[in-house]
């Protein structure tokens, strides 16, 4: 559990929430005091020690279920910090499908057609978040991508994507 909390704090920091060492120590004291059994108590113990600005509360509430709720509720990309080979395979698959769709989308663009917001949203879902437009999440996304790139099948799939884009003159 402690490891999860550390990862969680790390994620918050990537999203721009400034958390000092003293505050993370407070977070651990808090969960020592109140325990981890009750979800809401646990959540509030972390929130009151780590988040000191009301504007960061939505970010906290977005990330909390990802790190502490059961895997079924979390999306594929956020299951664990490290990717297993099976997960990397699935990711590569998705990437290939994405390549296909991307090619189609770009061809349509070249023909003068517009992309619907739905299609643009797909991009966001692909990364696992519905607020990909938030600049704050960028660094967190970059870190996740770096981790998943360690797998060769992912690199291959990405390479294919790059080639497709190159063919289309981008």
């Amino acid at each position: 559990m402690e490891e999860q909390v550390i990862k969680f704090i790390s994620a918050l920091r990537s999203a721009g929430v400034r958390i000092s060492l003293a505050e993370s120590a407070d977070a651990f004291s808090a969960i020592d005091q109140l325990g981890t059994k009750h979800r809401d108590t646990f959540r509030l113990s972390l929130r009151t020690t780590l988040v000191k600005d009301a504007r960061n509360i939505p970010i906290f509430e977005n990330f909390f279920p990802i790190y502490f709720d059961s895997p079924e509720q979390a999306s594929l990309l956020n299951l664990s910090d490290e990717f297993s080979p099976a997960e990397a395979d699935m990711f590569a698959q998705v990437l290939r499908q994405f390549s296909e769709r991307t090619r189609q989308m770009i061809e349509r663009l070249l023909r003068g057609e517009e992309l619907t917001p739905v299609e643009l949203n797909r991009l966001a879902k692909f990364v696992g978040l519905t607020q990909a437009d938030e600049l704050r999440y960028q660094e967190w996304i970059v870190q996740r991508m770096k981790k998943v790139m360690r797998f060769p099948q992912v690199r291959e799939a990405l390479q294919e994507l790059v080639e497709i884009l190159a063919q289309l003159g981008l």
Partner: protein, 323 residues
């Protein structure tokens, strides 16, 4: 002297606050409980009038502690917050003791010797007797456990925050003439802020954080029912619905819970049985204090697309029985 009370759970704390007529959400109760357990000050932020100060008062009542309040304002400094010497009193004593002073200084040959002799007696004039204790010092020196409420800290400046931080870290203060004075009891510390400016990182680091926003319909309704029991349930419901709708408008100053309660009380005083157009127009200014806001509100509430709440002709919607 009644025993001061510590709570064994957030639930117990929540009930105790209820006993003080303060309706606390689970969130508020849990975080307040954590503040007690971790012995860390609590910073409560939120729009004006949502119950931040009331929380401090309620917790003081619930724990049987004295409430010591430091109201912050622009220009508040150490002197006004901590202590000052009661200069006038010191002068008075000097005058009245003049003869005695003459005696003490007799026999001295020069100014230096006289000054030295006087310095020996200094303790008389710089003792607790002449120390004007302001809230922070009161809280430190208090014989009984207390709740220290530092209200609207965002109105004070960054310099004051830095000073406050020092006091909050060890709960002791050094007064040159008297030495270092430490606290017998650590007070429960609650700071409130209306969010008018960003507080210093150092201060926020020190505290646990609680944000109290505007209440939900259910929460606000329970507060109105509790605090203004003479208002009919039906009217209370309408009052809350209107206020909630007004908050969705872009007003200069959104009505807070305290204004909702003022309005509810006004309606009771006026013996209003229904919330018809006339009553609304006359009492709306209790809720909204800016001309531009009143305009906007009237515009929205008369908008045909909103629910037909008012209108003298459509009295079927309202019950005219009282209570």
């Amino acid at each position: 002297m009644t025993e001061t009370r510590d709570f064994h759970s957030a639930d117990e704390l929540k009930k105790a606050l209820g006993g003080q007529n303060y309706i606390a959400s689970d969130e508020i109760a849990t975080i307040m409980y954590l503040s007690q357990q971790l012995r860390k000050p609590l910073l409560v932020e939120g729009p004006a009038g949502v119950g931040k100060t009331e929380l401090a008062k309620a917790i003081a009542g619930a724990t049987n502690r004295e409430l010591i309040r430091l109201q912050c304002y622009e220009g508040l400094d150490e002197t006004k917050a901590l202590y000052e010497w009661e200069y006038a009193k010191q002068l008075l004593y000097t005058q009245l003791l003049r003869d005695k002073l003459q005696e003490t200084l007799s026999g001295t040959t020069d100014l230096t010797e006289a000054a030295d002799r006087l310095a020996d007696e200094e303790d008389v004039f710089f003792s607790m007797r002449f120390l004007l204790q302001r809230p922070l010092l009161k809280a430190i020196l208090s014989d009984e456990p207390s709740v220290l409420l530092i209200d609207e800290i965002d109105r004070a400046d960054a310099e004051f925050e830095a000073f406050l931080l020092e006091v909050l870290s060890d709960f002791q203060v050094s007064i040159p003439e008297l030495g270092t004075l430490g606290a017998i009891h650590h007070p429960i510390v609650i700071l409130t802020s209306n969010n008018t400016r960003e507080l210093s990182e150092a201060l926020k680091r020190r505290c646990l954080y609680l944000f109290i926003g505007y209440p939900s319909v259910e929460q606000e309704l329970s507060v109105v029912r509790l605090k203004v029991p003479d208002l009919s349930p039906k009217l209370a419901q309408q009052v809350v619905e209107i206020v909630q709708e007004l908050r969705s408008l872009d007003l200069r100053k959104s009505p807070s819970i305290s204004e909702t309660l003022d309005w509810a009380n006004a309606l009771v005083t006026l013996n209003a049985g229904t919330l018809d157009k006339a009553t609304l127009e006359t009492t709306m200014s209790v809720l909204l204090k800016h001309e531009s806001d009143l305009h906007r509100a009237k515009g929205r509430l008369q908008n045909p697309s909103s629910k037909n709440r008012f209108g003298g002709t459509d009295d079927r919607h309202f019950s005219s029985r009282r209570n």
